[in-house]
């Protein structure tokens, strides 16, 4: 970092007598740190805000890169007197497309057989280990398969979608759409007490008419 300080006049022409500097507007002068600290005239002028002092350190911020003008249109080749430009020649491998397909299929089949053999071996080994430990809890089949596949195909991760905590399963049973509704039987006892019930008779008051009208309405439908 540079020790120079930049001096600028805030107004008109300023003379810093003890440094022998004459500052004009829009001009700058550079002084060393020692000169700046030694100059009483400069300190007085700074106090009077006649001179502005700023650090001489260069800015570390890089300038914006020069903006390149983007093309306004894409230039395309077009037929000219020499005809349509030829596309770049494809590298020759010595194989036809059909041959490449056959090779890919063969490689995929071999890889699949290898993966199945590895998974089967891992699975059988895990089951054998589990059967040798009678006190151990029953292995979860989903977990076992997932572990076998994971170990056989190291880089492959298998999401265990079927694994759910038991409480969730209980929730499913309790809150499903076919939730059973318990309604006890034997609510009405044969030996029920007789209560005093207030009864009154009234004329049918159009009840027959309403019943007939409803019957006719239902018949018409």
């Amino acid at each position: 970092m540079s020790d120079d300080y930049k001096l600028e006049s805030t107004g008109g022409v300023v003379v810093i007598a003890d440094l022998g500097i004459r500052l004009k507007p829009n001009e700058a002068a550079w002084v060393s740190r020692g000169d700046m600290q030694a100059s009483e005239c400069l300190r007085a002028l700074v106090r009077l805000e006649k001179v502005r002092v700023s650090s001489g350190a260069r800015s570390r911020v890089s300038k914006d890169p020069i903006k390149k003008r983007m093309p306004t249109a894409v230039l395309r080749t077009r037929p000219n007197s020499r005809g349509v430009p030829a596309s770049p020649a494809t590298p020759k491998t010595g194989l036809s497309a059909e041959e490449a397909q056959v090779m890919a299929d063969r490689a995929a089949k071999a890889a699949a057989e290898k993966a199945v053999a590895a998974v089967t071996a891992q699975f059988q080994q895990m089951l054998a280990t589990a059967s040798l430990q009678p006190a151990a809890p029953q292995p979860n089949i989903a977990d076992t398969v997932a572990q076998a596949v994971t170990q056989a195909l190291q880089s492959v991760s298998v999401p265990i979608a079927a694994q759910r905590p038991s409480s969730d399963i209980e929730d499913l049973i309790a809150g499903g759409p076919d939730e059973p509704l318990f309604i006890p039987t034997g609510i009405v006892k044969d030996t029920s007490e007789s209560l005093s019930v207030s009864s009154e008779s009234s004329t049918s008051g159009g009840l027959d008419d309403a019943a007939n009208a409803l019957k006719a309405l239902r018949k018409s439908k």
Binding site: L181, I183, P184, T185, G186, I187, V188, K189, D190, S192, E193, S194, L195, S196, V197, S198, S199, E200, S201, S202, T203, S204, G205, G206, L207, D208, D209, A210, A211, A213, L214, K215, L217, R218
Partner: protein, 340 residues
Amino acid sequence: MSAKKKTSAPLGVGLDIGTMNIVSARRQEDGSVETSRVRDAFLDLDQSAKRMLKLSGVNYIDHGDDGIIVVGDAAMEMANVFGREARRPLSQGLISAGEMDALDVLGVMIKNVLGDPAEEGEACYFSVPASPVDADRDVVYHEGVFSRIVSECGFTAYPSNEAMAIVYAETAADGFSGLGISFGSGMCNLALAVSGVEGLCFSVARGGDWIDAGAAKATGSTQSRICALKEKGIDLMNPQSREEEALALYYKSLISYCIDQTMREFVKIKDRFSLPRPIPIVVSGGTSLAGNFVEFFTEVFETKRKKFPFEVSEIRHASDPLNAVARGLLIQAMQEHDED
């Protein structure tokens, strides 16, 4: 139970299961309609009260060491004697799962109100409220319990919407078109039908009990006192005391709420349900027995008529507000035995 009783009276029974009353309706041989009613309340007492109940001639259910249970109107009277609150098997129009005490009581009450079936498997239409739009309540258990009770009484049980029963009972002259509103104790049920076809059915979890509780809270009184005042008779258009003014305010709020909910629910069906002509609104239920209820309802309705989504020809009271639901259910039950 005598299952093979012969009678010349038309078969079929209507059963209105409400929070305050259980009412049955049945045709008699002379063509009249007999309605039987029991108060939907009970009171559990110690064995020590047995002697007093015997002396006063009150019927009770003896549960041995578990005490005794007084059921119906007597429960309300005994509750006053013992300074207790009578218990209700239903809350806000519905029975709650787990209320095992209430089940036995309901079994006794319904058996007594229904009586024996005139023949094995006689049709019994019983009322079921619609699902409330403003509360998370399940009507499936309610319907299942009462189907079981009615079946165990020897009837063939048919659940039917409470408010639609009002439409069947009161709008035959209008071609079974109308908006039936049952202002009950626990809730209000509403059903809109055209030519007997149900277009809209819902309930709100507010009713007479909500009015009592609100007015009691507003006036620093008790709910039972407000209820007694209400049942004694109150003129909604001319309240005479501070309590009556509070009651009128809550009545107005309930009516306004029901109208608003109807407007809201109708929006959901307006594209698939047409109303070719103006239809009547029929109000019913125990809460509608207050003086000048229909005039009061009309006054509130008129403030909302412009926004109401369909034209209303008239607003009228059911011919028998306490028994209209049971009668509407009876009309439907009679159809089951119609041989034509």
